[in-house]
């Protein structure tokens, strides 16, 4: 009986450690890893938050440049209420550049770089939308757009490129009310 108790105790400790590891791996505070779309999908879908925001980002997009400070502030304020996945595209060479850019600007957001070496499409975000959000209308989206999934990975709302920054923030805030 003592041996069984000891075995169960060790098993419980092991399971607990393993669970903690999984939790750490699935929610990095800052990530600059180069991922595949499937990796990103797994990361987003495994999040248990009620709101999961997938936001597209490109350093050369003027609209992104304009909206990023607001997104950064919004994330800092709402970090406990949602998971943010800032999705960029590139390869390992872009990783350092993007890291430097974000550091220079002082942004504290989780960024995931999707390896675009195998994506032969100039609208790369479309591939991500297609893979992560069946219900999204990807044709109306662009860089600086986002979609929000619920805890079961169903679409709650998406933005579109005809909306301005204020409208985007209103959409985000309305989900937190």
């Amino acid at each position: 009986m003592k041996k069984l108790t000891l075995f169960l105790a060790i098993l419980l400790v092991f399971i607990n450690i393993k669970a903690q590891n999984i939790n750490t791996e699935t929610k990095p505070v800052l990530s600059f890893d180069v991922l595949s779309i499937d990796d990103l999908k797994q990361l987003v879908f495994s999040s248990k938050k009620k709101l999961k925001v997938v936001y597209f980002f490109k350093t050369g997009c003027p609209y992104n440049v304009e909206s990023m400070p607001t997104i950064n502030t919004f994330y800092k304020e709402q970090i406990s209420n949602l998971d943010l996945f800032v999705v960029s595209f590139g390869n390992k060479k872009n990783k350092q550049y993007l890291q430097d850019y974000l550091f220079f600007k002082g942004y504290q957001i989780p960024v995931y770089i999707i390896d675009d070496s195998a994506i032969f499409n100039n609208k790369k975000y479309k591939r991500v939308v297609e893979n992560l959000c069946d219900s999204c209308n990807q044709k109306s989206m662009g860089y600086a757009d986002f979609f929000i999934l619920d805890e079961n990975n169903n679409l709650i709302v998406q933005s579109n490129c005809s909306q301005n920054l204020d409208e985007h923030i209103q959409i985000l805030k309305s989900q937190l009310d």
Binding site: Y97, D100, Y101, F103, F104
Partner: protein, 206 residues
């Protein structure tokens, strides 16, 4: 006295060469500043400068030496290595890549590189007038040049962002660096005679 006026003429000619748009300004570009006017400028433009990081030249001779060696320009960033040897000046267009990633900074000083001590020995805090205390065992010394006479508040605001990036390098990445915000204006604290002040302003604002 004669040497003094020769120096004044030297500095005048260099000013004119360096800042050719002087004449485009209606208002006098160069004035004598003090801790109060510097603070007013910092507050007006909401510059998040720490008092202990802001330094000025301790006298007119130091100013002239700095100018004659061609460093009186801004806003820009001068970098010295861990041995205090001058590495390079970073222009605004390259601050993003170099201040966010020190590996991008030139790593070999030239054979004639000046020492950071040559500058620091001539600097005092703008408010306390205390000499600068050089930090030892740092990896880099950064000197950020700015001035009211630049008449470019937006550029100085940009410089304040560079200053914040360097502060984040210290706090977020544990970089061991020494940051100096060098105000290059003429200073009341130089205690120049009225005659000399007027002459200097006259030739500088021509």
């Amino acid at each position: 006295m004669r040497n003094y006026y020769i120096k004044v003429m030297q500095v005048t000619s260099l000013f004119l060469l360096t800042f050719l748009n002087i004449n485009a300004q209606n208002e006098d570009r160069f004035k004598f500043e003090n801790s109060q006017t510097i603070e007013e400028y910092v507050n007006t433009h909401a510059l998040d400068f720490k008092n202990e990081d802001v330094f000025v030249f301790n006298d007119f001779e130091a100013f002239i030496k700095f100018n004659n060696e061609g460093y009186l320009a801004g806003p820009l960033v001068h970098v010295f290595n861990d041995k205090g040897l001058y590495l390079e000046s970073i222009e605004p267009y390259e601050v993003e890549k170099k201040l966010s990633n020190f590996k991008k900074i030139k790593n070999k000083p030239s054979k004639k590189a000046i020492l950071v001590d040559d500058w620091f020995n001539n600097l005092v805090n703008y408010k306390t007038q205390e000499p600068i205390v050089k930090k030892d065992k740092v990896d880099y010394y950064f000197v950020l040049n700015w001035a009211l006479f630049l008449k470019k508040p937006d550029s100085v605001k940009e410089l304040s962002k560079w200053y914040k990036v360097l502060q984040r390098q210290q706090t977020d990445r544990d970089e061991n660096i020494h940051i100096v915000l060098l105000n290059m204006d003429f200073q009341d604290s130089w205690n120049m005679s009225k005659e000399k002040r007027e002459h200097l302003l006259k030739v500088s604002n021509q």
